[in-house]
Amino acid sequence: MIRKILCKGYLAVLLLALYAPIAIIAIFSFTEAKVLGNWTGFSTRLYQSLFMGGASASLIKAIENTLSIGLLAAAISTLLGTVSAIGIHNLTARKRQVITFVNNIPMLNPDIITGISLFLLFIAFHFSQGYLTVLLAHITFCTPYVILSVMPRLTQMNPNIYEAALDLGATPAQAVRKVIVPQLWSGMLSGFILSFTLSIDDFAVTLFTKGNQGMETLSTYIYADARKGGLTPELRPLMTVIFLIVLILLLAFNLRTIRQSTNKR
């Protein structure tokens, strides 16, 4: 009994420590004080100014960039990843091994190396850096995860149903759309959510590929802001909101996976 309390207590203390910093930001997002840690009474003014246009134009622009890059990168990666996964699945084992190895590199490489290597690529070919290069970089590190989530569905799929659809008179395009895609759907959705989370979360790769034309995403904006010393108070409600969004996305993602695995059982 005592052991049980000790063990549960240990988990509770660790969780408390893990969430304390975020909790403090969330609590102090409801007060107006410029400096964090100063409680000047309950107020939702920071939220109002964040969402009602009181925040600076550059912050709004950074949020827009983050969301549009996140959605575009996730959509393109899902498309590219799914098509490639079908292709890779139909390759000979040897070729498949080589591609899988290269596909693993962006997942294993530290962010800073991915960022610098892409930076050097854009420099070497005199490609001017900005929105497009960030988007390309995000597609580079998101697509491997899409392939990773679509691949298992392909392996589980009966290889003959595509042929069956063709025999029954479907055109190849119809067969893919009506037979293969529905089977891959859940893997594609997982890949999309994962890519979106990875993209809005990224800092290092974005920093090296965003160029110096003033293109910012949220993380690079926060970084620049923190380096100037002291955070803009509006960032406190913003971090709280981001945290909640990521929390909801991940809970949804994980509960889906759990439900699927229990269904299988």
Binding site: K4, C7, K8, Y10, L11, L14, L15, A17, L18, Y19, A20, P21, I22, I24, I25, F28, L36, G37, L80, G81, V83, S84, G87, N90, L91, I99, N103, L108, P110, I112, I113, T114, I116, S117, L118, L120, L121, A124, L136, A137, I139, T140, T143, Y162, E163, L166, P172, D201, F203, L207, F208, S219, I222, Y223, A226, L231, M239, F243, V246, L250
Partner: protein, 259 residues
């Protein structure tokens, strides 16, 4: 015929991988061995080994990474064990709560740590740096160890108990050896990002402490691309070595488990 057609669907991605994964890494290698004019040189590496500040930062970063990894292991292993033990924890939500911080922006987590230290008016510095690193990377240690303990066949433990082993022996001779692959991948998942991190150290120590990642970033930002590429290559070698060692240890432990 149809099969070859569908295998061609991989072609665009093969080109994409070549352009955005293989070529960039190759460029790191090329830039590292070139001087500003593009001629072959070993000068960038000689510069690293003769600049005592950069060399010192490099060694210091490894020290910090080792300390962080050890602390994460010390704190994370018991947590993973409790999480995987059905007597103490049945809910998968608790597990998700432990893994979740992995997905929250590193900068936000770091700034939150700074806020926590400000809140308790604790001074920022080396202590804050190590706390922040452990806080940032602890989930990466817990997750792989939890995963392997979760999948472990409990009949091994029962067999050991039936043969008269006390709990300590069961842990030492059965649970720990079987969980070693998870421990090694946890070490890899903590050590790699700690050694390559940047920005985190500046924010947690008010620019008092510099880590190797920051050195690389500064050189790239200041237009010293060749030297920056050489430093990146050195980091890649360290990371490659760590991966090799942990893969080997991980596999050995797995084989040991099968015997």
């Amino acid at each position: 015929m149809k099969m070859t057609k569908r295998s061609q669907w991989a072609l665009p991605y093969v080109i994409f991988l070549g352009l955005f994964v293989v070529l960039p890494l190759f460029l790191v290698l090329v830039y590292a061995f070139q001087d500003r004019s593009g001629a072959f040189t070993l000068g960038n590496f000689l510069k690293f080994f003769s600049t005592s500040e950069d060399l010192h930062t490099f060694v210091y970063s490894i020290e910090i990474a080792v300390i962080t990894t050890l602390l994460c292991l010390l704190l994370g292993y018991p947590a993973a064990w409790i999480l995987s033990n059905p007597t103490y924890n049945r809910s998968s939500i608790t597990v998700i709560l432990f893994i979740l911080p992995m997905w929250i922006n590193m900068l936000i987590r770091t700034l939150a740590t700074v806020a926590l230290f400000d809140f308790f008016s604790a001074p920022l510095g080396e202590g804050a740096l190590i706390f922040g690193m452990v806080y940032n990377f602890l989930p990466f240690m817990i997750y792989p160890i939890y995963n392997i303990l979760q999948k472990m066949d409990h009949s091994y433990i029962e067999a050991a108990q039936d043969l008269g082993a006390n709990p300590r022996t069961v842990f030492q001779k059965v649970i720990l050896p079987l969980s070693m692959p998870g421990v090694w991948s946890g070490i890899l998942m903590v050590f790699m990002p700690t050694i390559s991190t940047f920005a985190v150290a500046e924010l947690l120590t008010m620019n008092k402490v510099k880590l190797f990642g920051t050195t690389i970033q500064e050189n790239i930002n200041n237009g010293m691309w060749n030297y920056g590429a050489a430093l990146s290559l050195i980091m890649l070698v360290i990371i490659g070595l760590t991966t090799l060692i942990s893969n080997e240890k991980g596999n050995n432990a797995e084989q040991g488990g099968l015997l």
